[in-house]
Symmetry: C2
Subunit: 230 residues, 2 copies
DNA sequence: CGTTGCTTTGATGCCCGTCAATGATTGTGG
DNA sequence: CCACAATCATTGACGGGCATCAAAGCAACG
């Protein structure tokens, strides 16, 4: 559940430098956002809810997922600081958003976002670029789920974590999501994910000091595996 | 390869009533488009090409796909008349677009589309809605590839064809794509697709008069199967 | 220190991929 | 118009990769 909600004063935390590319016309968004917090495991919105709000993550990690009627789950994305979600220009949300860790985000009333987009073409185009990026990511995800082996998927996931961490971290990756979350993102079972990670560890391609950290030891070989060599 | 290219006269074929919702501000697009034709199996653009153009399909069917280095293929979408593709607001195309049948489309120079979007907020928002719809579709596709069985996927595909055909056709669906295309869309092999279709035929849920047609005989039961019952 | 929830490992089986052969359809040249 | 090739679709036999079922570690919490 929501822990606290308060309005952003106009001079509050600048959002631009958070993540992603240094963004064009998004500073204008600061004026219309509200900071909201969610506890770990809180639901931010549900699949099918009226899409009254869009969000931008300040800190923490979120999972965007879809549930089938019998409980099968597919995670579409794990937004991190700087990412938008629930941005789709539709009447209802297309997925459920849940806080994977404690989360701080900025919430934008859709109607105000719409109006701002109308007034400021640069904002509109900036949001469009975000949306395009999400579509691009989803299409790569399709390739993974449709055509990669379990081993390739797990390795691709680790490499994606590594890229997202970028220069920071010095090879030690933070893994905020559970094994089950990873499995649901990769379209596998938790057992297959575990076994594959153990295999990679045994081959000294990674280290796994604990359940929330992975150390990349041979990124070149990992890249080969992700591409289908081996 | 391209067969013919000619400029649209301003009084040429109105595009709005083709497919999808009766669209808001898209009539303005007619002024800046060029009609292009592609022969069956022609490549419209390639994954990674500079995204100089976006397209709207007038007639025929297209496949949007991604290839892995070893030849594995995943099809992301089969646009039909009225659909846009290559609309992503990025520098390069995210996938390859190929003509599945002979195709007529309208081609928009990206820079002109961009300028029109700048001048007309309604156009920009309309394109944004299209993009959002594509993202929504991709996320449903993720669930299919990640969490549905072969049987569920094939049935979902047939149901999607049926919905797209809508009232027209009276139960007989046109299937312009090959079995291999279907397999690559569903993340399966051609053999599994064939076997599953044959099963459905044996159970009298569908008829398959020839390779390009499917007749739905029991849509209720098909819906049950797609949802995971049985 | 026992409980609770998550992770890991093992044993087994099945769904679907692979390999192979046959059948059906389309296109081409004589 | 037919013969032939080329392509695509279908069916069968078989095996492997991943899911399922089960149990044992392991860390966080009271």
């Amino acid at each position: 559940m929501t822990i606290a909600v308060r309005t952003v004063s106009s001079s509050a935390t600048p959002i631009a430098p958070l993540g992603g590319a240094p963004d064009e016309g998004l500073n204008a968004l600061q004026a219309i956002g509200t900071v909201v917090r969610f506890a770990r495991n809180a639901t931010i919105f549900n699949d099918g809810d009226d899409a009254d709000y869009s969000y931008r993550l300040i800190s923490g990690t979120v999972r965007l997922c879809k549930l089938m009627s019998d409980g099968r789950r597919q995670i579409a994305e794990f937004p991190v600081a700087g990412d938008f979600f629930g941005l789709e220009w539709l009447d209802t949300h297309a997925f459920t958003a849940e806080a994977l860790t404690d989360v701080i985000a900025v919430r934008y009333l859709r109607s105000r976002l719409d109006r701002l987009g109308r007034e400021r073409g640069d904002v509109q185009r900036s949001l469009m670029t975000r949306l395009s990026h999400d579509l691009w990511a989803a299409q790569n995800h399709l390739v993974m789920l449709g055509r990669q082996t379990a081993r390739e998927r797990v390795v691709s996931f680790i490499l994606a974590l590594a890229e997202r961490a970028g220069a920071t971290g010095g090879g030690t990756l933070d893994v905020p999501m559970s094994r089950q979350d990873i499995a649901d993102y990769l379209g596998l079972t938790i057992e297959t994910v575990c076994r594959t990670i153990s295999d990679l560890k045994r081959q000294r391609l990674i280290d796994v000091p604990n359940r929330t950290e992975i150390v990349v030891r041979d990124i070149e070989k990992l890249r080969d595996i992700a591409e289908g060599d081996f």
